[in-house]
Symmetry: C2
């Protein structure tokens, strides 16, 4: 593919446990609605058109890189491209978020999902990655990502936002075997999807199990952790088989405070944690051979600059410079002031 | 008041660390929409009319007691009676839940809250408690409850459901002093409100800090825990001063997995925990001189009876019979089958 050599290797180095000159930092959902330039482009195009048009996805991915001293770009896309590829209709409805007009109502609906060739059906993501990697000219690494099986299942069954996820969770209690069938089906796609992203040029991958927080430990073990492990192992196996070099993998299981140790032993180089876990606690219970990523409360960016600087400094000094990637504990909110993002990034870098 | 003597003392005994013949059990939101008899009454009256009419609140409180072998009744009311008493308008909107048409938009709005005499303004709750306590004829104890300051503040600032609580949380970051002023104001009312409930006949009190889960440990310490401690100490002081006997106090800070030890040392006899904390972990880190309450995943009630029985038995056997009150890890959902509630209660009692 003839990509230009990487100039800023901080995030990759931190992920692999190497020394870094400065703590690397990126922000979940950094290419998003809090940026006026994003909102302007978004006013012209539908959300999924932006995801599905490599030129637009590339343009959006680069927006925060042009504005801030970030140490990584992350491809503009959405975790719901997988259910969409499986034939599910998805609409972004103002005030209601992503809505599936026909969610999976019972296990029989699993059979309505269209079998897919990931390579073809999600080619637009791979093309966007290759184009963006070229456009970055090696300035910073390009991250790819995917939703994890339980999180995708949750959206597919709930159909729209829910404060309890009780529909999706009821499947786990009522239809354990059928739930596993769906999670297996999703895992197989996710594995191919991640490998495809790496093949296309992604230099690090984050797996988002955003809805882990709704489960207890025993349910998480069965319905999340086993798939998280399997995806990691299978991706590496498939890369080897196809002669594609491995890249660092990040797991973010939001709210899985009960499985920090297990996550740190699940084969991922990096474990991303949310803000409800203190850096001290995370360092104490987790495998010291993984890199931690996180975990500023996204709302801390509402604080006055001086106060934001203080909480950021406290966070980075507690995590320390070794095996650490600074980030928020979840995606940035749409009403955030970009100036405060700069304060956050500077506070990390000047540590 | 000449209340009849209490026949079933299991919950009070468990709260105080005494031996019990059977593990006591009650269910958060046990007098609620999952009961057809509740839905029938609700079809005739507005939600707050039901709360504000002692005869109706009493009728609803007794519904689950007539149907199930529960070890406690909990007065039918809502945590939002306090913001309502402060002059805030609240509407229950179908599909949107509780909505405040005029939430607190900035700290200046704190001054629009009407100063109140709790004894007068919330007299309907006290009357409902006295009436229900008489109607129970000592069958089981009657619990009272209140929302905790941060949880109430969150509703008052957000105005309606929010997946991030970012408006209310932004106050903590942007206006720390004004937030404390509001939390202090609410604490003073909560203290009087709890004392009033005990004076009216409540035999145990639960304080709900339901929205603790949105905070990190350092914010929780400042904006929740200090008020939780203060409320407990002040209630006991005021009871003493007025010559009213103390009752056991329960704290439920949902999602506060990072503060289990601190909560168990905050002066409450009982700490209620959500389902994301395993019984083993809770027993390990918490003060052994408090009673634990909880913590079945509410969704476990969707399971088939045999499977529900198994998870319940596993939970109670891990908590053990000593210093334990069985409950769900949060309120029961409106679509739950009452038959499964019976399976749960029986599984606890037959342990």
């Amino acid at each position: 593919m003839n990509f230009e050599p990487l100039q800023n290797t901080r995030i990759i180095d931190a992920a692999l446990g190497k020394e870094v000159d400065k703590i690397p930092v990126w922000i979940m959902r950094q290419a998003g609605r809090y940026l006026p330039e994003f909102r302007e482009l978004r006013s012209k195009y539908d959300f999924f058109t932006m995801c599905q048009t490599p030129k637009l996805a590339c343009e959006v991915t680069l927006m925060p890189i042009k504005r801030f001293e970030l140490d990584a770009a992350i491809i503009f896309s959405d975790i719901l491209v997988i259910p969409k590829a499986l034939g599910m209709q998805i609409e972004l409805v103002s005030g209601r978020g992503m809505v599936f007009p026909s969610p999976l109502k019972s296990p029989a609906d699993i059979d309505t999902l269209q079998p897919i060739n990931v390579k073809e059906k999600l080619s637009y993501v791979f093309e966007a990655i290759t184009l963006t990697r070229h456009s970055l000219k090696g300035k910073v690494p390009l991250l790819g990502f995917s939703g994890a099986p339980w999180t995708l299942m949750c959206f597919m069954v709930e159909g729209e936002s829910s404060s309890t996820k009780s529909k999706a969770k009821s499947w786990l209690y009522k239809y354990p075997e059928e739930s596993k069938r769906l999670l297996d089906l999703l895992s197989d796609i996710i594995i191919e999807y991640i490998v495809g992203q790496i093949e296309a040029g992604a230099q690090m991958i984050q797996l988002f199990e955003t809805l882990a927080e709704y489960l207890n430990k025993s349910m998480f073990d069965v319905y999340c952790l086993s798939y998280i492990r399997k995806i990691n192992a299978s991706v590496r196996e498939l890369l080897k088989k196809r002669g594609i070099p491995e890249v660092p993998m990040v797991i973010f299981a939001k709210g899985a405070h009960f499985a920090l140790k297990e996550l740190s032993e699940s084969g991922y180089e990096v474990v991303s944690i949310d803000w409800t876990v203190s850096p001290e606690e995370a360092r104490k219970v987790m495998n010291p051979n993984v890199t931690l990523q996180g975990n500023l409360d996204p709302c801390a960016l509402y604080a006055a600059p001086e106060s934001l600087k203080q909480v950021t400094e406290k966070m980075v000094s507690t995590f320390g410079k070794k095996r650490y990637i600074a980030n928020l504990g979840h995606g940035i909110y749409p009403d955030m002031d970009p100036d405060n993002v700069e304060v956050f990034i500077d506070a990390v870098h000047s540590f």
